[in-house]
């Protein structure tokens, strides 16, 4: 591997890691604060990707697709939390797994009904379709850099909200002692709706901005769910910081792993998870 390849792979792994973080952050918050395992989180990513496809087809503009897609995802999140997840808070994890798994099946079928089972492509927006020259021999697609930048800005924004605002304090307090938050006169259920909807919107946004990179196909959320669960477990359930570093680690491993040890390519990520859990059974930042 020459230096150029290493550099390009490094950029790829950072981009993939940041994207994974964007998607995983909602999963870890919902799990950590609300105590709900949302297996349909990957399906939110898929819906996002299909919305990007549909809105770009309709409007011809990727920005319009984002502007329409994000509010739609928020509404989807609010509806799912209010009408389905709301019944699960006091129930056993088994019920959560059953219901959210059922939701995956329903959403996959809906996707198939609405958009069929073909694979679709979403064109990279015109202005971002070029490449920039990094060195004499090295080019890197502008769109990938843009995806990284969007994710990074959102990560910083999330950090700011969680660390510096009263909403963020309330979210952290809810992770520590939910009943006490309620005992301060704060509506914890509304807080849950906000967290869930934000998580769904972030996963959906992840799907939207991934669409031009990965194409749009049935069941695309399933593998994303698995990898996000790995990220959340590695980072420590409920920890945003953990999700960040977990995602960056998985980004590195899944980019460089297959190059360095091709024979272990398919299990690399799980090996890393196993090793992390052996050393820190509750994850890196729990």
């Amino acid at each position: 591997m020459d230096l150029t390849t290493i550099l390009i792979q490094l950029l790829n792994s950072v981009q993939y890691g940041l994207l994974l973080f964007l998607i995983s952050s909602g999963l870890t918050l919902v799990f950590g604060i609300m105590g709900v395992i949302n297996l349909a989180h990957g399906a939110m990513y898929m819906i996002g990707a299909y919305l990007a496809y549909a809105f770009v087809e309709w409007s011809g503009s990727f920005s319009v697709a984002l502007l329409l897609g994000i509010p739609v995802m928020l509404v989807v999140g609010i509806i799912i939390e209010r009408f389905l997840i709301d019944h699960l808070y006091k129930k056993d994890h088994l019920f959560q797994v059953l219901l959210t798994f059922g939701l995956i099946l329903i959403l996959n079928d809906l996707q198939s009904l609405i958009w069929g089972n073909d694979t679709h492509g979403v064109p990279i927006p015109e202005v971002l379709s070029g490449s920039i020259t990094l060195t004499d021999t090295m080019q890197y697609p502008v769109y990938r850099l843009t995806v990284s930048a969007i994710c990074l800005v959102l990560a910083l924004g999330m950090y700011w909200v969680i660390q510096k605002t009263r909403l963020g304090m309330t979210i952290r307090a809810g992770a520590s002692n939910r009943e006490m938050v309620e005992a301060l006169g704060i509506n914890v259920r509304t807080l849950f709706t906000i967290i869930f909807a934000a998580g769904v919107a972030l996963a959906g946004l992840g799907g939207m901005i991934s669409a031009p990179l990965s194409s749009v196909y049935p069941g695309m959320g399933d593998s994303v769910l698995i990898i996000c669960l790995v990220v959340v477990v590695i980072g420590g359930i409920g920890s945003i910081k953990g999700a960040f570093w977990g995602a960056m680690l998985i980004g590195l491993v899944s980019t460089f792993g297959p190059i360095l040890i091709p024979s272990l390519a398919s299990v690399m990520v799980y090996l890393v998870m196993a090793i992390v859990l052996l050393v820190k059974p509750r994850g890196l930042f729990a």
Binding site: M169, T170, A173, S176, A183, I186, N187
Partner: protein, 238 residues
């Protein structure tokens, strides 16, 4: 006058599963009043508070807050009607700093004013001002208790509910807490005090209620209890 009541609960029947814990408790607090709730371990003091606040809805009975029926309402909805609750165990957030504990729930009171501000809490609890960047879990028991009270005051309540605020604290710290409760009382805030220290309670309370196995066995002034020590001896064992 009817609308002088902050809390008016009648005939509370409370169960935990099959076990019947409160047997028709009547409990009220008027504006400006300090009411104590006494009783041995497990007699239902905390349960009385928690059923009024909506954490353990009563099977029968009625809870009114400022004249409004709040029976079965969710706790946040009861509490945001200008009540503040300092629970047993203090309810710290281990991942929030002292400053954040105080900023998070801050709000104006019933009259729209903020009589208790961050600065005023700092003046009242100087020890906390040295600990602003510490996390809830890093404080001593006394500091946690002060923070729990300060946090409750930041919501500018009309009624402060203190469950075992001096439990497990060293005597000096305990005195400090009683001094603060006196300040709060002087400020015109009504209080419900659950505590095992009879002396300070009798000095502080306008009215005392004694619970035995989920029944009220005594309700009256501190003077009545001082004149007839037998009541305390029989029901609390002092």
């Amino acid at each position: 006058m009817e609308n002088d009541y902050i809390v008016k609960a009648e005939g509370l029947q409370v169960y935990y599963g099959a076990s019947h814990v409160l047997h028709g408790v009547d409990f009220s607090v008027k504006k400006g009043e300090t009411v104590s709730l006494m009783g041995r371990n497990g007699m239902g003091k905390t349960t009385t508070l928690r059923s009024i606040l909506g954490f353990v809805p009563p099977k029968e009975g009625k809870v009114e807050i400022f004249g409004q029926d709040m029976t079965g309402a969710r706790p946040f909805n009861v509490i945001k009607r200008h009540l503040a609750y300092v629970p047993e165990g203090r309810g710290m957030f281990h991942n929030l700093s002292v400053r954040e504990h105080l900023e998070m729930p801050a709000r104006a009171g019933m009259d729209g004013k903020r009589r208790w501000t961050f600065d005023r809490v700092m003046e009242t609890f100087p020890r906390l001002s040295e600990r602003l960047d510490n996390m809830g879990s890093q404080l001593s028991g006394g500091e946690q208790q002060m923070l729990a009270i300060g946090r409750a005051l930041m919501t500018n309540p009309e009624l402060l509910i203190l469950d075992e605020a001096t439990e497990g604290l060293a005597p000096l710290i305990r005195e400090e807490i009683w001094r603060i409760i006196q300040i709060i009382k002087n400020d015109g805030i009504s209080t419900i005090i659950v505590d095992k220290n009879i002396g300070p309670i009798l000095d502080m309370a306008d009215r005392n209620i004694i619970l035995v196995k989920g029944n009220i066995v005594f309700e009256g002034t501190s003077d009545q209890l001082r004149e007839d020590p037998e009541i305390l001896a029989r029901n609390i064992g002092v």
